[in-house]
Symmetry: C2
Amino acid sequence: MIVQKYKDMLKGKSVIRQLSEFATARGKEIGYENVFDYSLGNPSVPVPQKFTDVMIDLISTRDPMELHGYSQSLGIPSVREKTAESLNQRFGMNYTGNHIFMTTGAAGAIAHAVRCVTQPGDEVITFAPYFPEYNPYINLSGAVLKVVPANVEDFQVNFEAFEEMLTEKVMAVLINTPNNPSGIVYTTGTIQKLAGIMQAKEKEYGHDIFLISDEPYREIIFEGTDSPYISKFYKNTLSCYSYSKSLSLPGERIGYVAVNPECTDAEYITNMCGQISRGTGHNCPPSIIQLAVAQVLDLTSDLSVYEKNMNILYKELTSLGFECVKPGGTFYMFPKALEEDAIAFCEKAKKYDLILVPSDTFGVKGYFRLAYCIDTEKVERSLEAFRKFVNTEYR
Amino acid sequence: MIVQKYKDMLKGKSVIRQLSEFATARGKEIGYENVFDYSLGNPSVPVPQKFTDVMIDLISTRDPMELHGYSQSLGIPSVREKTAESLNQRFGMNYTGNHIFMTTGAAGAIAHAVRCVTQPGDEVITFAPYFPEYNPYINLSGAVLKVVPANVEDFQVNFEAFEEMLTEKVMAVLINTPNNPSGIVYTTGTIQKLAGIMQAKEKEYGHDIFLISDEPYREIIFEGTDSPYISKFYKNTLSCYSYSKSLSLPGERIGYVAVNPECTDAEYITNMCGQISRGTGHNCPPSIIQLAVAQVLDLTSDLSVYEKNMNILYKELTSLGFECVKPGGTFYMFPKALEEDAIAFCEKAKKYDLILVPSDTFGVKGYFRLAYCIDTEKVERSLEAFRKFVNTEYR
């Protein structure tokens, strides 16, 4: 019989999807260029031209048997080595190819990392506001996701609540910095304090507590932001990366787990990921995409548009009276709504063709998310809509 | 702490991998062209030129944002529709795009199918000889794989043992035809009888028993072989396909689950696969590969070399006295070893630079597998090695 658990999951409809469907429908009425759709976190700048050139070169010149052949289950060795070298150069780490496990994006990376270090029933802590897909990512692995309430002052870590929730049952802590949805980047101070608490608890409980660091926005950092490389601060770190945002390749499903060379059993973990993969049906990302990405490891798309958009929106929204912690990266911001009920607030915004996501879905009440990965020209046109919205509904 | 279950899996070393490593090492000594490596099931003919042309066209002409953008989690709608149409035309089915769930190859397809229809502890039956990866595929999902002993007479189904093992705890039956490792194709009679037994048991137990049909070799059928489309014979069929073998694209990870439109809850199953995917980190195969494959759905690589190789080997081996059920498809054959202990037999073969896989790993004793997806010229050169091997060791 079909499994009720998965059938039941079909009942709830994603808030973001509903908003996106509304935007599409409204776009058919008034032209999509007139809908200020801030709902979706899809990159809005193209992949670097070099990636395209490399792809054409690979397809035109390589032996197709070799090009499209099976990748080794942990990833193509030369790709893993180049990835390690690039991380070492940029962040002063000591990875070798053996510490890199190639995955189908960050989702695949987290799926493997969590299964490496948790048994069914173990707890994994994350921090609000958080990416709502962490619920299925963690809970469907058999572990249990626990959410530390937000520190709404600056969206850094709520340490008091964290220490209380970091019981003996917690085997992993999942962080996401730069953060979706807040756009906040954890400071060096935050990471040091987090690491210190986790190390103390590891000793107290006599077991490892792994840090699973979800880093798809690592390359989207705004001027003047302190953006520490997480794994440098805590040995038991599994860094989960995706090229979806930095190279604007979300559909091609490519990323990795990078295992800190000093973590417990570091020599086993990527091989364990390979075993886990046999059960989840992952079996490595596409060969051609691995080979192409390995040639553009140190490039990114032109990410400057996101900072430009952020500055325009931050200036306008704060001058309209919104409270907002200024983002340090990503293409999100997370201002406080102008009424307690963020769902009602975002519903009203729709009347002005502003598509905003209420914060409830991210584990916080009373805020909303803007995904400003859209054309700057459209951001600029949206300002008038914000003014109308606020002046009509809240003045 | 890292999970012992996956760490323990690292202890056993795959027999096939060990043989392949031996072949590589021996190749360094005497030249790889002189090692008759029949160990690996990798396609030996290139992808059709049209696929390459389509890839270049997509990369050169499409908007990269669209080309590399997120695929919907069930697959790109136009790709799902084209897949359905192609199957309907070829096999007289009534699929719509909604019955197709795009996956990262057959491994991904089985991972989703088994999770749709089994709870942890439920049993899944398969038939020896069988692909050894079924053990992790099924057992790591939480279900339990049970293996029906082989019918060594013709490698069709051992119905007596099947009926005995088809208890109330069995929620799915997993078949693989054309079969790895035997090369045998289940006849229409076999499928009808299998379906009849399963239908009777469904009634008796009052629950569905799903047929998970693993079909990566579906297009590699030899002359005169009866090769029924499985799903036509049993409503509750989930067909798991991969383009790895038919298009020689194993590294690009593309396949699908096709849900029989008349199966129980057919309208939910692909959507359930989408939910399962959130937990396993799959999140759809690469966009560009989906789009490219959709344009070559009814093509295959030039698969005729496999039949040619099979005929050469079958003639020589049977004339040397091997008992062998003649393959109806795939690029495998499964002769009886010349001594009871197939491992000892294959060990002796190595002295003649013949790399053969003992049958023990496929759940049968006393046979060996040849993967003849190698150049015909090499097959022909290997005949002398077979003659020497047999005449020296067994005459």
